[in-house]
Symmetry: none
Subunit: 155 residues, 2 copies
C-alpha cells in the first residue's frame, strides 16, 4: 500500500519511554515524498491535536517564506518564522519506525497511552482518543471507527 498520500486510521501506543511507532504505511509515504526517515510534528492550529508532515513539505514552506519576505526583516517575518518553526519538532524515527515524543508535544497533544494517527492527504493528524471523541468538530462516522478501534483493544 504505497502512496503519495496519508490515509487510513491507526492506533499505536506511547510507551513509558515516550516512544511511538509511526504506522508503516505512513513511513512509506514519508519516504516516498521526502526521501528521508524524518517526521515534522507541530501543534495543530484549530484542534487539540498534533499535525505531522514529511520534511519536504516543511522545506517548501520555508522556501516560500524566505522568498516572500526577501529583504524584509520586520516583525511580520519574525513572527511567522518563529511560530512556524519554534513550535515544530523535527523527529527522526529509528529502525523500528519509532519516534520519541518530546515533553512539549506530549503535553500539547495530551498524549499518553494510545495515540490515533489519522491520514489527511498531504499531512496526518495525531490525536489522544479521548480528545477526539470529545471534540464537536469530528465527524460522527470517524468517531465510530475510533470507538471500534478502541474496543478491539479493550479500551
Amino acid at each position: 500500500m504505497r502512496g503519495r498520500f496519508f490515509s487510513g486510521t491507526y492506533m499505536n501506543q506511547v510507551d513509558a519511554k515516550h516512544r511511538l511507532s509511526v504506522p508503516a504505511t505512513f513511513r512509506e509515504t514519508i519516504e516516498t515524498r521526502s526521501g528521508s526517515r524524518t517526521v515534522v510534528l507541530a501543534p495543530a492550529e484549530h484542534a487539540p491535536c498534533l499535525v505531522g508532515y514529511d520534511i519536504g513539505h516543511f522545506e517548501a514552506v520555508h522556501a516560500e517564506i524566505a522568498a516572500r519576505f526577501a529583504g524584509d526583516f520586520g516583525p511580520g517575518r519574525g513572527n511567522l518564522a518563529r511560530t512556524l518553526f519554534a513550535s515544530a519538532e523535527t523527529l527522526g524515527y529509528d529502525d523500528n519506525g519509532r519516534i520519541i515524543l518530546p515533553p512539549i508535544l506530549l503535553e500539547l497533544g495530551e498524549l499518553s497511552g494510545p495515540a490515533l494517527f489519522l491520514g489527511a492527504g498531504d499531512y496526518f493528524e495525531l490525536w489522544a482518543p479521548g480528545l477526539l471523541l470529545a471534540s464537536d468538530d469530528v465527524d460522527p462516522r470517524l468517531k465510530r471507527v475510533v470507538r471500534a478501534l478502541m474496543q478491539a483493544r479493550g479500551l
Copy 2:
C-alpha cells in the same frame, strides 16, 4: 539527520559563569550550514531578544541591513545599524557545546537563569522566558508551548 534549518524549542540554563549550552540539534544545524563550530549572536531588531545565526547567514543578513542604510545620511543613520553590528558577537562553543555570553548580550537579552532557544528557519532566537510571555507580538500558541516547557521544569 536533523535538517538544515533551525526548528523546535529548547530551554537551557545560564550558569553563574555565564555559560550556556547551545542545543545539540542547533549545533548540528550550524555545522551543517557553515561547517564551523561558531555562532553569531546579535540583538534582535524588532523584539526584546537575541538572534543567532551561523556565520554564513550572518554575512547575508549583514549585507542586507547595510544596503538598507546605504542611502541614509541623516542624523538617525547608523544608530540602529551600530547597535545591531557593534553588539554582535561571534562566539565559538567548546567541546561540551557551551558558549560564554558577554556582558553586553546578557544585558540586552536580560538573560539570567533559564534561556529559551526558538528555532526560526534560517536563524534562531534566544529569549528570557519572562520577556517572551510578556510580549504582545508572540503567537499565543507559542506561549503555550513555552509555558508547558517551564512547567515541565518546575518554574
